[in-house]
Amino acid sequence: EPEVTQTPSHQVTQMGQEVILRCVPISNHLYFYWYRQILGQKVEFLVSFYNNEISEKSEIFDDQFSVERPDGSNFTLKIRSTKLEDSAMYFCASSPQTGRVGELFFGEGSRLTVL
């Protein structure tokens, strides 16, 4: 069964460093998302991406964050200058089409630890 894959599974970085989290969505999916979960808190929406542009972003997704789909397969989340509060599990997700609203396929997550 096709799945969403994420790399790395765990990254430790120093505050102020740039981090890129990578995702390979399911190949025929059209919509792409990033969510995050700070330890002990809810899973929160960050951003959605469709047709090579951001469709919607939350208030969390400030200028320190960016997303890109550099080729036909990868979908990346970049954090330009990490802060301690960026420590979280980051989930990539994809969905096939509009008609299946809310039916997302999630990756296993990338755990980011900022020291």
Binding site: F45, S48, A93, V101, G102, F106
Partner: protein, 115 residues
């Protein structure tokens, strides 16, 4: 503002026992409703969804959920739990007007199954 409440952080049941996980939502209008499950080391997986119609919906792995408008609830049930059901369960909602995947999640309920 949208709000999803899962009042039980952790539930423990014996294998073969019945299960009910609670979910309440606070929303302007009835949203679309979902249950996702996250097994250890895996991404979130959609268990079932409610859009409209029959208020009792069936999902994968033998789960079902009942939508009760009067109680703003969407509780997840399973008549007989298996050890492999041990996981974290997330209730989620999405605005009916949304064409994309901005889900609002509850905090999750961790299910432990005793043999």
């Amino acid at each position: 503002a949208q709000s999803v409440t899962q009042p039980d952080i952790h539930i423990t049941v014996s294998e073969g026992a019945s299960l009910e996980l609670r979910c309440n939502y606070s929303y302007g209008a009835t949203p679309y409703l979902f249950w996702y499950v996250q097994s250890p080391g895996q991404g979130l997986q959609l268990l079932l969804k409610y859009f409209s119609g029959d208020t009792l919906v069936q999902g994968i792995k033998g789960f079902e959920a009942e939508f009760k408008r009067s109680q703003s609830s969407f509780n997840l049930r399973k008549p007989s739990v298996h050890w492999s059901d041990a996981a974290e369960y997330f209730c989620a909602v999405i605005d009916r007007g949304s064409t994309l995947g901005r889900l609002y999640f509850g905090r999750g309920t961790q299910l432990t199954v005793w043999p």
